[in-house]
């Protein structure tokens, strides 16, 4: 396999798609920040950001003031603010790891999306293929593996800051991530059992296989509600969202692991958190909410052409946005758990529940998969 022109072309195309996907997720992350501020404002009877506007847009009648009121341009201003703030490095930090930590936090958040299917396209014969950067046979494991690397960013940030609050945040975060990863992995095992019916071509470890198994049938949320619940709770813990934001609980740890970070380095942590939420919501949509397929038991109403592709992607995005809203909604509804409560919930409630759930589905699947000759 030499580097010939065809391969270069392929590489260029892949790079272009990857860039498009990264920019899409980053845009969604930026606008999730805005959504967070707006939703929290509405929930608390405030208005939220409503003053930022580009100079020329302001003068468009009706649309200009409307967009201004929505705060559409706020993420732009926020990003520029992070970029132009003075870069301060405290004197007591371990410089190499201090600079490395934000990158280590962001890269896994952006890498998981490579195996995330978000739609399907149809060729002239009507056969569908998934829209995905890399269609890995073991996609879901890839996501687990890469997202488990994300904890290093937080741990390194906490440790390299050489100060008490970040350190506590880092330690708490690693303990929390280890605890909830187990429950998260266990909650998905029944899904694999359920999806990989004997004789089916789809490997249940592939996200595409999981999505297609939900086409014109029940969503896995309906088939496996307990798995969905455990996965969702663990997802909140893994993305460090309230009520699980142990690493940065601002009331007892100032800012947690990013106390010593400012300007753009803090911005990277911030974006990484929201990118985690976006990708996490998309993963939940893929596994439990049928991905780009229409409602449960209803076949896709759109035609198998490029229109169907676009509508499918739109439907997928709509589900993802609803889940992002759910994340925000929970954050402004439930107060933070105490650290011991978090550990207690993870080890003594979620983990046994996931085990019981697994055993129940093992028995159920064994019973359902009995060869016809055995059952009278």
């Amino acid at each position: 396999m030499e580097f010939d022109s065809e391969m270069l072309q392929q590489l260029g195309l892949k790079a272009l798609f990857a860039l498009l996907m990264v920019s899409a997720v980053m845009t969604m992350a930026g606008y999730s920040v805005l959504a967070e501020r707006k939703v929290s404002a509405w929930m608390q009877g405030r208005v939220g950001p409503n003053r930022t506007v580009l100079p020329f847009v302001e003068h468009i009648p009706f649309i200009g003031p409307f967009l201004k009121g929505l705060g559409i341009f706020q993420p732009l201003a926020d990003g520029l603010k992070f970029l132009f703030k003075e870069e301060i490095v405290p004197g007591h930090v371990n410089k190499v790891y201090y600079y490395m930590a934000p990158l280590v936090a962001l890269v896994p958040a952006l890498t998981t999306m490579t195996v995330l299917p978000f739609g399907e396209y149809f060729d002239e014969a009507g056969n569908s293929s998934p829209l995905i950067l890399a269609n890995l046979e073991v996609g879901i494991l890839f996501i687990f593996a890469v997202s488990s690397l994300g904890v290093y960013g937080i741990v390194l940030a906490g440790w390299s800051s050489n100060s008490k609050y970040p350190f506590l945040g880092g330690i708490r975060s690693s303990a929390q991530m280890i605890s909830y990863e187990l429950a998260m992995g266990l909650s998905l095992l029944p899904i694999f059992l359920w999806v990989s019916v004997p004789g089916s071509e789809d490997s249940a470890l592939s996200l595409v296989g999981i999505v297609n198994s939900q086409n014109d049938g029940a969503w896995l949320l309906i088939v496996q509600p307990v798995s969905a619940l455990i996965f969702l709770v663990a997802l909140f813990a893994e993305t460090n969202r309230l009520p699980f934001d142990m690493p940065e609980s601002e009331t007892d740890l100032v800012g947690g692991f990013h106390t010593e970070y400012g300007s753009f380095k803090f911005g990277i942590f911030f974006v990484a958190e929201y990118a985690h939420i976006v990708v996490g919501s998309a993963i939940f949509t893929t596994i439990f909410l049928g991905g780009w397929h229409f409602l449960p038991w209803i076949a896709d109403p759109w035609p198998a052409t490029w229109i169907g592709t676009l509508l499918g992607i739109g439907w997928f995005l709509a589900k993802t946005v609803c889940l992002i809203f759910f994340f925000i909604w929970i954050r402004w509804t439930i107060p933070r758990f105490r650290y011991d409560q978090v550990m207690n919930l993870g080890w003594t409630k979620l983990l046994p529940l996931a085990l019981v759930n697994l055993i129940v589905y093992v028995l159920l699947v064994t019973w359902l998969d009995q060869p016809p000759s055995v059952t009278p």
């Binding site: 396999m1 030499e2 580097f3 391969m7 790891y97 890995l136 046979e137 073991v138 494991l141 890839f142 687990f144 593996a145 890469v146 488990s148 690397l149 904890v151 290093y152 741990v155 390194l156 440790w159 350190f167 880092g170 330690i171 690693s174 303990a175 991530m177 280890i178 990863e181 004997p198 490997s203 470890l205």
Partner: protein
């Protein structure tokens, strides 16, 4: 030099360099991080061999779980560069070093012999070699794989599953039982010490 070759040399350097730096770095946290680099390098080499499942397991288990625990413990105990020097058991490290060098020598000898075999093969009967490389393995069928005799080498998850849960079921169970025993032992030991501490 072709693309995959370049990638191979890059990731091989990464894993070997990470391993060397791990041994020689004085701070335990740096050592742990270099070990992660090395593990990820090895995982990338697995990817180059099309063994995606193995690569992902390598990252998931070692880089993602074991090393996080290592870092957690290092940070919790706050082991600094001085802590790394504390081990004064010279004899033990000497013996361990000798054993490692011996293993390395054996490995190198074996590799040398192995590569000689391969070169002979490619020189004399390269038709056979090419044929075996191009030969497409048949799909694993459930009924034939149940006894594990017809297992063939394949990087797919199914092959791993059939291998572990059909052919190597007993070793798997024994290993699991050993780990369980170790876990129970650790729990009993740690329980005892806390009870004494309280009393």
């Amino acid at each position: 030099m072709s693309g995959p070759d370049l990638l191979f040399y890059f990731f091989a350097t990464l894993s070997l360099g990470g391993g060397l730096l791990m041994v020689f770095s004085r701070h335990p946290v740096s050592a742990a991080l270099f070990m992660i680099v090395s593990l990820v390098g090895v995982a990338s080499l697995f990817v180059l061999l099309d063994a995606f499942f193995l690569a992902i397991l390598q990252v998931l288990v070692y880089a993602g779980a074991v090393m996080v625990l290592f870092l957690f413990i290092i940070m919790l105990l706050d082991v600094g560069p001085s802590g790394a020097k504390a081990s004064k058991v010279k004899l033990l490290s000497g013996v361990a070093g000798l054993i490692s060098v011996g293993l390395l020598v054996v490995l190198l000898l074996d590799l040398g012999l192995g590569s000689m075999d391969c070169s002979e093969c490619s020189a004399e009967n390269c038709d056979a070699c090419g044929e075996s490389a191009a030969f497409a393995w048949p799909e694993i069928r459930d009924e034939t794989a149940a006894n594990g005799n017809s297992l063939i080498f394949s990087p797919s998850v199914k092959a791993f599953g059939f291998g572990l849960l059909a052919k190597y079921m007993l070793p798997l169970q024994v290993a699991g039982f050993l780990l369980l025993a170790a876990m129970v032992g650790v729990i009993i030991l740690s329980k005892k010490s806390t009870a004494e501490g309280e009393g």
